[in-house]
């Protein structure tokens, strides 16, 4: 299954506005994308489009997460979402 790692760039972590932006972007993809902390089993991965799941993940600035997706367009979707995570939205 295609996967990417990304380092959380936003100062407030994957919370508040950065989490909303990411969940919204994940919801717009043609494939379902999951998110997990690096090192956690793939079975425990959460729905990346769920803002509530992202909050429970509790990823802070500098944490590394793994994004996974399957199917047509998975590669592009993952590339796009890695970019969202690696942008510091609190600096905007």
């Amino acid at each position: 299954m295609p996967e990417r790692t990304a380092t959380i760039a936003s100062r407030s972590g994957l919370h508040a506005r950065p989490a909303a932006l990411f969940a919204e972007a994940a919801g717009e993809q043609s494939v379902e994308v999951t998110i997990a902390m690096q090192g956690d089993p793939a079975d425990d991965a959460l729905d990346a489009a769920s803002i509530l799941s992202l909050m429970t993940l509790g990823a802070a600035q500098g944490d590394v997460v793994v994004l996974r997706a399957e199917g047509e367009g998975a590669e592009q979707a993952l590339d796009c979402l890695v970019q969202v995570l690696e942008t510091d939205h609190d600096a905007e």
Binding site: S12, H15, A16, A20, A23, G27, D47, S50, T56
Partner: protein, 561 residues
């Protein structure tokens, strides 16, 4: 003609149509089953479509909102169609639960999970419960909870308003606020005064007045009439004229015989400070620094704080700005400072007390204040909230001295500080009475509770006596240290006269009240104010104190205050 009597909390007379705040969504009965005529698949599809409508509605509102409000609405919109929430609900529906009950329970379990995570997540639990209510309202086909949207201006009638409601309140659309619950110190009252909207709270039964009814509201008398008389219409028209003449304050708070009582403003940030300076405020008597901290998971840096404080100081060059250090806890929780699980937050670790459990935050704030003060021309005074003992005052003064701040002070909100004012004032340079909390603690009455509205007024002779004791404590201490008032009491023109008569040296209020207080103060001599203070102290209760004093100030009736 139907009349309602409540507590007037913000003056003004106005006639307009009623729009009711929809009632809170009631809980679907526990164990409510899916209608046997509906398949689980259809119920899940119906729930998803209701959730999507709620999402779309919130998203549309987010698109027209700005700033923090926009971000909150965007996040809330996403929660409405969140898979975690909807999957849990779908599971319950498949097990035979009705769609309404299923989303209700799913929302509760998600909210509880967030609550247990604490901090920022715990605060978002409320948003999940709000979304849940909206989805249930959508499934039932009833209006969504929250402030109604309307093309034309209206008088908002509600049981009570929450801080979150007031954030979405559009002052261009809302003419007046009327609630059946709430008290004189409730959020509804505070927001109404800061927006300059006439408001009546604790008007029992008023939330039954149908939408569209024309009503007359008198925010000074605490009176609401359905189907206004010609007289009342004329009174509203007259108010529209006098309020225009009351719009100005000449920047000189004084009694008729020239006893100076500087009138200062309560501000929460640079925008307020600039507006207050424009309205003639003679300085700032309460600069609330929470704005820098609220909605934050972590403490703002010293640089960030210093810049925010300087922006306020710069609005008042050469004038006094009294800054209150961080007042977190009770109704203002902060994830990195306060414990949301305290059984009794009003009596808990709040205000200055957060320094007991999280040392360092206060010292860093003081150094940010000192830096901002050194870079500005304002005369910066600093006070700590919720001081109870002389020892706490002494410790705060030593922290201020270490930071290089020259004028330390305390807020008098806890009755113990008023009762031992002389000892407290030996340690610091001044005191400021926070009458909202002082009233709450003196009367042991939660300021948010409607049924306790009559107890919860600074007109209570017991509260006035505590004010007097604080002033007497200053005299006893011997160095004539100033005692100000920065609670909502100072914004009531009649009470402002009483406070001046009790010997209070400055009055600080929401900037919109400066003109009314300044106008009324100029009509009495210091001796008359002292006489009115004695009268109020001698009253058997708050209602009599207010009535007796108002009867001696006919200017109030003339101006509709």
């Amino acid at each position: 003609m139907q009349n309602f009597h409540g507590v007037g909390v913000s003056p003004g007379r106005i006639v307009g149509p009623v729009r009711r705040m929809p009632k809170a969504v009631t809980e679907p009965p526990s164990g409510e089953r899916l209608d046997p005529g509906i398949s689980a698949e259809a119920a899940v599809a119906g729930l998803k479509s209701a959730a999507q409508s709620v999402h779309d509605g919130l998203k549309a509102r987010a698109d027209t909102a700005a700033g923090d409000g926009k971000a909150v609405l965007e996040a809330t919109a996403l929660m409405a169609r969140d898979t975690m929430l909807l999957k849990q609900a779908a599971k319950l529906i498949n097990a035979g639960t009705s769609a309404e009950r299923a989303i209700w329970e799913a929302g509760a379990s998600v909210a509880e999970m967030l609550h247990n995570l604490g901090g920022y997540m715990a605060e978002r639990a409320t948003d999940v419960l709000d979304v849940r209510s909206r989805i249930v309202a959508e499934l039932r086909g009833v209006p969504a909870p929250g402030i109604p949207s309307s093309e034309s201006p209206f008088i908002l009638v509600a049981e009570d308003l929450a801080p979150a409601d007031t954030a979405t309140l559009d002052p261009a659309k809302v003419l007046a606020l009327v609630t059946s619950g709430g008290g004189p110190q409730s959020h509804t009252a505070i927001i109404a005064r800061s927006l300059g909207l006439p408001a009546v709270v604790a008007a029992h039964g008023v939330d039954e007045v149908p939408d569209g009814s024309e009503v007359y509201v008198d925010g000074a008398a605490g009176f609401v009439a359905v189907a206004p008389s010609e007289e009342q219409r004329a009174a509203a028209a007259a108010w529209a004229e006098t309020s225009a003449t009351l719009a100005g304050f000449d920047g000189n708070g004084t009694t008729a015989d020239g006893h100076l009582v500087p009138l200062l403003a309560n501000v929460g940030g640079a925008k307020d400070a600039v507006a207050a300076a424009g309205l003639g405020a003679q300085g700032v008597g309460l600069f609330r620094t929470e704005f820098c901290f609220l909605e934050r998971d972590t403490e703002p840096s010293v640089d960030e704080q210093a810049a925010a404080y300087k922006a306020v100081f710069d609005a008042f060059p050469g004038k006094k700005v009294v800054l209150r250090t961080l007042d977190a806890g009770a109704d203002k929780p902060l994830p990195f400072l306060t414990d949301a699980t305290e059984p009794n937050p009003a009596l808990g670790v709040r205000g200055y007390r957060t320094d007991f459990t999280t040392p360092g935050v206060l010292e860093r704030q003081l150094s940010a204040i000192a830096r901002a003060a050194s870079e500005s021309e304002a005369d910066v005074w600093v006070m700590a909230p919720m001081i109870s003992t002389a020892a706490e005052a002494a410790r705060f003064a030593s922290l201020c001295a270490a930071a290089g701040l020259k004028t330390p002070g305390v807020m008098v909100e806890v009755p113990s500080a008023a009762l031992t004012a002389a000892a407290v004032l030996r340690e610091v340079g001044f005191a400021s009475l926070g009458t909202n909390d002082l009233t709450q603690y003196a009367m042991a009455a939660d300021r948010q509770l409607g049924p306790l509205a009559e107890l919860n007024t600074p007109w209570q002779p017991a509260v006035l006596r505590l004010v007097q004791l604080t002033v007497e404590g200053s005299a006893l201490e011997g160095n004539n240290k100033p005692i100000g008032v920065c609670g909502e009491a100072a914004a009531d023109p009649a009470l402002a006269v009483v406070l001046a008569g009790l010997g209070v040296s400055t009055l600080s209020m929401t900037a919109r009240s400066l003109a009314a207080v300044g106008t009324v103060l100029k009509t009495v001599t210091l001796e008359q104010a002292q006489e009115l203070a004695r009268l109020a102290l001698s009253a058997p209760g708050a209602a009599e104190a207010r009535e007796w004093v108002r009867a001696k100030l006919p200017v109030l009736e003339e101006l509709g205050l």
